[in-house]
Amino acid sequence: MSKKVGIPKGLLYYNFYPMWKAFFEELGAEVVTSSDTCKKIIDDGVKTCVDETCLPVKTFVGHVIDLKEKGVDYIFVPRVISVERHRYLCSKFLGLPDLVRNLVSDLPPIIDMKIDFYRGDDFMKREILRVGKLFINDVSKIKDAYEKSLKMQRTFECIVREGFSNTEAIKIMEGEKLDANSKGDLKIALLAHSYDIMDDYLSMGLVNRLKNMGAYVLTTNMIERDKIEKGAGKLQKDLFWNYGRDILCSGKYFIQSKEVDGVISVSAFGCGPDSITDDLLERDYKRDGSIPYMSITIDEHTGEAGLNTRLEAFMDLLRWRKGEIMA
């Protein structure tokens, strides 16, 4: 019987799920995901974690508990150190498997694959074999599985660049048919970590709310690399968090190119990297003054009505600036 690998639907699930799924399935394992985020999952996470932990991590721990209750053979909690040369992720990803192991009791074995491209990709080749050997003892098959998973990731990233959100792209890869980023007429850049905006429960359906109000939503993942690099040219010093850098540099790029009508940044309460990048962005947008900028913070207490009011007001502002609404 094939082994069941559980993948928690949190944090980098939204960036790498198709890749991870392909990898484990090629190795002959069955991949199970946790349920969609719900009240119970968040409550479990909040109860288990230290209270100052950020909401996405609390939710992730909730998903791990959900998988534990579902009964799987392994839970995949990667230690994602770096996905680009000389850039890190936030500290919490570096210690994630340790954190999960020490917080949640009676866990099935954790696959703590180290994902580290800080010094290039040699390290990954060894790590892939270590993890692969949990399933089959065939080096060439493991390497094939890895190649296949990389291919899946490239397909996934292409779909996202076409204007689908990460969640939609995952659905498309599972075989669903979806329309691209509908007809919204106001272009809004949603600058945030994918796990803050892609989880519909955490963000209270932020992306869809915006779309329903007539927005064409651009997330950081949809923005082409060369645009981000153009924005990076404006940095005093290269930023060492890759997702934080994507956010900051896309923001800087839009100030130059003026190709969006408004910018919204979303961050989780107490997020370390965002506290710095948000401040820098806000400063830039204030100095420039030509594109409206709004910053939203989410935590486990966020109220839906408050969010809606702010979004409506922001959209009205944009329409008023375009001359569609008379003051």
């Binding site: 210690g95 965002d274 506290s275 820098l280």
Partner: protein
């Protein structure tokens, strides 16, 4: 050029000694007070950590006092300290200050490269003078740290409350103004003698607590509401796990301590996660094994590496059967609340000791 820098415990003393040794004019940032903090808070991002806010307050106060060049350390992550300087620079520009900011990124954490880069900013200085100034500054730092280590033990035994702190402050000022190594040694000897004279109280139950956590909070007493003093005055001996001299020596000769840390943290945290997360976990294990009565972790509110560590050392606490208390600090300082928690912690530790005595 009038140079200034942020406060961090005894860092002021060392940098002042060093820059004056190479004839660079220094504008000492005024001592950290509530005013410094409120200025910093006013212009900082809301969720940034406490050290950032205090540093920014230091800069503004020093610039108002006439400084025109700020020296700040950088970093390569993943702790956000590595981008402090850049963000603070933007803030100060928006506030309309005219200044020059030197942000020193430790290239590979090696002291030699670091000094080379530093010297490029001061072209008129002979490296011989610089080296001399640097060595004397380091000597001062080592003596000051040694003196403080003694203080943290002796103050728990003081006969009259408050006197030890006064003696300590008096001699620290003397160390700060010392002109050569000989003077330094005699000040240290005299100071230690004075500390000992006032510390002869003995207790039936003598508690020992190790302080672990984030380095800035550990080094700058203002930021932690002088937790060492509060603990000492409750009669508890304190071991601080980070001192500036240890920190510098370890970043200069990187390896030995890191290997030690990894060994201690093994099974709980398998790699460096930025900031002082690994140190916190390793030190918790280390001092639990040394049979300390309790461990207190201090860190700035929203510090990500320490939050990860906090979750992990809770497990260490139950595995090793040692009480661990985590305290996070931000600008909303309420001294009474923390005092109550420290007193409760002391009661808990004492009761555990009593229980063990009864067993025999």
């Amino acid at each position: 050029m009038k140079i200034t820098y942020p406060h961090m415990g005894s860092l002021n003393m060392i940098l002042k000694t060093m820059f004056e040794g190479i004839n660079v004019e220094v504008v000492e940032p005024p001592p950290v007070t509530n005013k410094t903090l409120s200025i910093g808070v006013k212009y900082s991002p809301e969720f940034v950590c406490l050290p950032y806010k205090i540093n920014l307050g230091n800069f503004i106060e020093a610039l108002e006092n006439g400084a025109d060049t700020i020296i700040m350390l950088g970093g390569i992550g993943p702790c956000r300290f590595g981008y402090y300087g850049q963000a603070q620079k933007e803030t100060l520009i928006d506030l309309g200050y005219k200044f020059n900011m030197i942000i020193l990124d430790p290239p590979h954490g090696r002291l030699v490269d670091f000094l080379k880069e530093l010297s490029s900013y001061f072209p008129d200085v002979y490296w011989k003078d610089a080296l001399k100034a640097f060595i004397f500054a380091v000597q001062k730092m080592i003596i000051a740290d040694k003196f403080e280590k003694k203080l943290l033990i002796l103050r728990a035994h003081e006969n009259r409350a408050g006197v030890t702190t006064k003696i300590f402050e008096y001699y620290m000022e003397k160390i700060k103004n010392a002109k050569n190594k000989k003077e330094l040694d005699s000040i240290y000897k005299e100071g230690l003698e004075k500390l000992r004279q006032n510390a002869t109280t003995k207790r039936e139950i003598q508690l020992k607590v190790a302080l672990v956590g984030e380095i800035y909070l550990m080094l700058e007493p203002f930021s932690n509401l002088d937790i060492c003093r509060s603990l000492n005055e409750l009669g508890i001996e304190v071991t601080k796990t980070d001192f500036l001299s240890d920190y510098l020596i370890n970043s200069a000769f990187k390896l030995p301590q890191r290997v030690e840390f990894k060994k201690y943290a093994h099974g709980y945290l398998e790699r460096d996660i930025g900031g002082h997360g690994l140190n916190t976990v390793a030190n918790t294990v280390k001092y639990a094994e040394k049979n300390y009565d309790g461990i207190i972790q201090i860190f700035p509110f929203t510090c990500t590496p320490e939050i990860v560590a906090q979750g992990i050392i809770a497990k260490v606490s139950s595995d090793k059967n040692i009480p661990v208390m985590s305290l996070s600090y931000d600008e909303k300082t309420g001294e009474a609340g923390y005092q109550t928690r420290l007193e409760a912690f002391k009661d808990l530790l004492e009761r555990r000791r009593l229980k063990n005595i009864k067993k025999y």
